[in-house]
């Protein structure tokens, strides 16, 4: 399909900005102006609408069909949440208003949302306070590890090591490194959980903390998590809960109650805000009492008279991690979702998420290798090793699912499972949908035996087939820029690619 730039017709206009006659005009000297206009497309409104509508039809979203992408919690995103963020009182609200003199009275509704959201997350996670500022899950991890660094520095402790199990998300070690820590990887044991033996061997005074995903990336709950927290606390370390998988334990188990010191939750996973094709997300971070002083600036508080205000006077704070108060539009949607569900609704979320995951696990167990066959939480991880013997890899199974109208599971993660296929159905899927998916998986497993080449040809019914990723990386073409060299081409010649 043509790029939008290549559809451009010289002289065609889209949306026309307002024109107003003014007594004076800006008068910039020639050398401060750009030499030629930015080569943006020249299109009518209908051209632009059709272009993007056609693009959207080449996408698969949760609204299109089952999307069991493990570790990503692709649950349904309620439509009413999309509507409330467009209310002008939220959408048009300038973030600097509360920084004007007595400006906090100008944004009372917004501050109340932030304050109440903080309160609800505290209750859900068993923590003493939250910052809503982190702009994504990985950003939450960075904020959390920066809080760890500030805490240890404040106590005069020289702690340099961050422990991370080998099954952790790649963002864990990357975030810890940026917060200034050296990462030490702890291997898993034969049950898929972090090896207690290796953990104990790694413990000494240099350990700043441990980052643990709970339940872990195999969808397993580590019943020794309380002991693990105690071991880390014994060396004056802090325990970070990567709450990416909170959808498994809402109302069942709270990170704060079992000994975690810091937790981040992903509003775009657990609390139903849309993933947006890869963002924007939101990754609020909660901490226990002794870490409250280190939360980022600012913090929303409630005054004795019931009004809300922003507290900037936080001398021990790690400082600013976001320009303002977080991804407010995303927070609003999660707030709306929580207000519709309430405590009992949230408990039912996790019960149904776990039910659905175990149902898929049980039904597919006869057909695919299941390296860790115990009860799972919100997701289950199969391996395609059996099918691989016929040359059918996890990647091929993923493509065969696409052929059958499903979004594939997460594949090749966690790294601790060969040919991993990580399936997270979420609670918003019905038994009928799960049964269709299960039938498709069984069909693929049978085809992998009878006609493996047919599986490897998939998908055949998509706008493009399997793409050459090696070529993309070796000879990157990452932008179409108008040829700027010759003035004659300034009108609307097709773009020229940048080849690196």
């Amino acid at each position: 399909m043509k790029l939008i730039f290549d559809k451009s017709i010289a002289g065609r206009r889209g949306v026309r900005p307002v024109k107003e006659e003014l007594a004076s005009r800006a008068d910039f000297p020639e050398h401060m102006l750009r030499k030629r206009p930015a080569e943006l497309p020249e299109l009518a409104e209908i051209d632009v609408v059709r272009h993007f509508t056609t693009l959207s039809q080449k996408n698969f979203g949760v609204d299109s069909g089952f999307y069991p992408l493990g570790s990503c919690t692709m649950k349904y995103n309620p439509k009413v949440c999309e509507r409330v963020v467009r209310y002008p009182g939220f959408f048009d609200l300038h973030p600097l208003l509360p920084q004007l003199p007595s400006g906090q009275t100008l944004v009372e509704g917004a501050l109340e949302v932030l304050y109440e959201m903080d309160m609800m997350l505290q209750e859900i996670c068993g923590m003493a306070g939250f910052t809503l500022q982190p702009l994504a899950g990985a950003h939450g991890e960075l904020t959390g590890t920066m809080i760890m660094a500030a805490y240890h520095r404040d106590r005069g402790a020289k702690k340099t090591i961050m422990l991370i199990p080998d099954s952790g998300h790649g963002t864990n070690p990357a975030s810890a490194a940026i917060a200034g820590f050296d990462v030490k990887t702890i291997p898993s044991d034969d049950r898929g959980l972090m090896s207690m033996k290796a953990l104990k061997e790694a413990l000494d005074d240099s350990v700043a903390g441990l980052m643990l995903t709970c339940p872990n990336t195999l969808g397993l709950f580590n019943s020794r998590v309380k002991d693990i927290c105690r071991l880390i606390h014994d060396v004056d370390g802090l325990v970070y809960c990567d709450g990416a998988n909170m959808n498994a334990m809402l109302g069942v188990c709270r990170p704060g109650d079992v000994g975690f010191d810091i937790v981040h939750v992903n509003l775009h996973k657990t609390f139903a805000t849309p993933h947006g094709g890869g963002g924007p997300g939101s990754g609020p971070v909660g901490v226990v009492e002794r870490l409250l002083d280190f939360l980022p600036i600012s913090v929303v508080r409630k005054a004795d008279d019931g009004s809300f205000y922003l507290d900037y006077n936080l001398p021990k704070s790690i400082g600013y991690v976001a320009p303002f108060y977080g991804s407010f539009g995303v927070i609003l949607k999660a707030f709306a979702y929580l207000r519709m569900l309430g405590g009992e609704g949230l408990r039912r979320v996790s019960q149904n998420a776990v039910l659905n995951a175990n149902y898929v696990r049980k039904k597919l167990e006869p057909y695919f290798d299941l390296p860790f066959p115990q009860l799972c939480k919100h997701e289950c991880v199969f391996s395609a090793t059996r099918q691989k013997k016929n040359g059918v890899a996890a990647m091929d199974i993923a493509k065969a699912l696409i052929e059958r109208g499903f979004h594939p599971p997460t594949i090749y993660f966690p790294l601790t499972v060969k040919e991993a296929m990580m399936i997270e159905p979420t609670e918003t899927e019905s038994k009928e949908t799960l049964d269709h998916f299960i039938d498709a998986m069984i069909d693929i497993s049978q085809q992998a035996d009878s006609d493996p080449r047919a599986v490897k040809r998939c998908p055949t019914n998509t706008p493009v087939g399997r793409l050459d990723e090696v070529r993309a990386a070796r000879n990157p073409d990452v932008a179409s820029v108008a040829s700027v060299a010759s003035p004659a081409s300034a009108a609307s010649l097709p773009g020229e690619s940048i080849n690196g």
Binding site: R16, N59, M146, G170, Y320, V464, L467
Partner: protein, 443 residues
Amino acid sequence: MPFIPNTNLQRIQMLAEMGLDEDGLFADIPAEMRCKGMNLPEPLAEQELRNLMSALAGRNRTDLISFLGGGFYDHFTPAALDAILSRSEFYTAYTPYQPEISQGTLQAMYEYQSAICRLTEMEVANASVYDGGTAIYEAIMMAMRVTGRRRVIVDQTVNPIYRKMIRSYTHNLGIELVETRPQNGRARRSEILDNLRVETAAVVLQNPNFFGMIDDFTDVAEMTAQHGALSIVSCYPISLGILKTPGEMGVDIVTGEGQSLGLGLSFGGPYLGFMATRKKYMRKMPGRISGRTVDEQGRDGFVMTLQAREQHIRREKATSNICTNQNLCALTALTYLSLLGKQGLREVAQSCADKTGYAKQRLLQVPGVRLKYPDRWHFNEFVLELPARADQVIRRLLQRGVAAGFPLAAYYPDMEMSLLVALTEKRSKADIDFFAHVLEISL
């Protein structure tokens, strides 16, 4: 239960097929670790929720005639933008891990990257980072990887909020941050040059700067390069509709806040950090990148590429911990730029600048009011020097329904009388006249 389709009967069937009961689903969580319930507000029906949300929205003042900017601007957004963005195939998808069913997202990412390159006249762009502040931080980290040096110069005309963010992020990394002081509201070349003499990785500037002043950084980019450092310029994308581009100035890394490209102010987010650089630094750039390639039949298609830089492969050695982009916000910016087009963006930029010219002229007619930096050009924002404390004036004008601007003393303590005033195409001549009128009677 809301948003859970399975009936109780179905649940019972499913449990029976698995030979489990409800409690058995959580048998792996010891009783001592179970929580005793959560005390959350009672659930609301959709109608009740909408009433609650409109009541909350109603307690935010978006009815003011606003001249508040500071890097975040109230631009007009066309209805077609909303229509396109409400396509749920875009917003309910995730990261395009499976390119065959994500060509919509991947092509849009590629087009967004191209649009940013065309706007800034740079060679390559990533698919976005969180916001304008984190974009500068990522650019600094990138400059350190390229140069192998750990000293960074940030001019004080860079948005003070971003400078605070940079300070937080670099705190644990043994980076030496130096802030250079401006002269007459613009970056002072001699001070930057003095500081460049020591092993410096990057010089960070902003255009137009926080005081609204436009600059030509060709000379700074040149002297920065001569000292083996990289120049980083954070810019306001609307201004690039008419102003000299960072590409033409020879800047190494361009960043900026993309909020003005069709995103709501939304009380601080979600926003969009854009980032572009030269081809030779492409593999040192952080963040998602979409690339064009072909399938087995030779058809054009797009994939996420250069992933060897990223955290899921490199873990603690990655170029950044960033895991996604601000994809929907990037799509918004691309759609906005496409709807306005080549001519429309120019007109929006010119309109902002014209209204700024008019506002300066009109406000200077108010007795006692002068421009703080009269000898330079302003794009859409300028600093007024008032005959009274800016915070007091702002307070009085708020009572008359005008948000007059931002009091600079909040970030520059010696600028108590200074008011930062912003214009966009949305402010009418009548708004400006009214502002001048109430300012005059409030002084």
